[in-house]
């Protein structure tokens, strides 16, 4: 986790500590403070750990499915799957904006004024393949360099990493879920101009080829 808020981190950590950890595995929670950007922060923490399975998540995500680890390990038994997310786009739209197309997966999403259960749709089988997943939570079983050379801030690192995994021959999937596995306390935002700068870099790097 890239962290700048102790209250959020402690709450996210509370839920991580409550997860059922299968025999032979251990939980190692690592944070990056003062990261210059998400990709840079994730590279730092990725390189600091020899864990095979890594979960990159926002500090404002609470994993409420106690069997989360068990369930993602089952999916990762398929070694062609590189990354798992909670929400994803089966087909990335031409403008690179994930919420401008249909998605699968689900979350409990909270802004300041209300909290809702949002189920975008379920795949047919145990999981569904997507082109990109949302950065709120990204679980991997392989290490790939996060493109901090291209994405210096807090945007498009998720779509970029999804495309990097696919470029390297791995699948990206979203599990089938009866109800969401996580709360995302997303807050409110009017997107800042840096999002749109990153979007254009993403399109030139991945979509116009």
């Amino acid at each position: 986790m890239c962290c700048n808020d102790d209250m959020y981190f402690e709450e996210a950590f509370h839920y991580l500590n409550g997860l059922t950890i299968p025999e032979g595995y251990e939980l190692d929670v690592r944070t990056v403070e003062n990261a210059t950007g998400m990709a840079a922060g994730y590279n730092e923490v990725m390189n600091s750990s020899d864990a095979k399975y890594k979960i990159y998540m926002h500090q404002d995500v609470m994993i409420v499915n106690k069997n989360f680890i068990i369930e993602i390990l089952q999916i990762f038994e398929d070694k062609s799957i590189g990354m798992i997310g909670m929400v994803g786009a089966p087909q990335m739209p031409e403008d690179g904006v994930m919420w401008h197309c249909s998605r699968i997966g689900g979350i409990y999403t909270s802004n300041v004024y209300n909290t809702n259960q949002v189920m975008f749709g379920n795949p047919e089988g145990k999981y569904g393949e997507v082109e990109a997943i949302d950065g709120l939570l990204m679980a991997t079983q392989y290490d790939l360099f996060w493109r901090e050379d291209l994405f210096v801030g807090w945007h498009m690192y998720d779509a970029s990493q999804s495309f990097e995994f696919r470029k390297n021959g791995y699948k990206i999937v979203v599990p089938r879920m009866d109800k969401p596995w996580v709360i995302h306390d997303d807050g409110l935002k009017v997107l800042d101009p840096k999002y749109y700068e990153a979007r254009k870099i993403f399109i030139s790097q991945y979509m116009n080829k």
């Binding site: 209250m7 409550g18 904006v97 409990y108 300041v112 004024y113 909290t115 306390d185 935002k189 009017v190």
Partner: protein, 179 residues
Amino acid sequence: MYTSLEEMTNDIEKGEKKWHEIYDKKAKEVERKIDCLLADLSEQNIIALIQLFECEHVKTELRKTVKIGYMICVMSIFAQEMNAGERDCILSLGGSISDFMNLMKQVKFLLWRIEFENDEDAIEELCAFAASSPASPQFFAEMIKYVNIKKNHMFTRLGKAMGDYGLEHYREYLIRQIC
């Protein structure tokens, strides 16, 4: 009518850039003003706060920002407390925007622990907080509405717990929220 998604997105970008040009500075000014008024809660300053949150640009545009969003919730709770003739009032619970954000986050987290983990300690903590602070029944009811998915379940659960804790006034109010 757009001919492509890219065209639509470029248009959205222009709109949001303009929004930031107009409202980023205004948001900071309003936040500074709120903090000044909260730091000295005279009757005059409370009236000034109420009037500030009645401004159109606060209600429609600045509500899209996190800090002012939280304070809109605070002022909404305050209005309900005043209408109900409550002795206790949310404005006594903090002296700055940051205080109120931290308070509401703490309560939010406890309400989620109750809803998603059936956490008895979290219930106990909320009841103790109600008993020992100026947090009103309206505060807890509105927090449930902002934060929880199964609201009626939470009104019942927390209402019963408050009653068991000897907080009958809170129990009655929460149970009345069930719809």
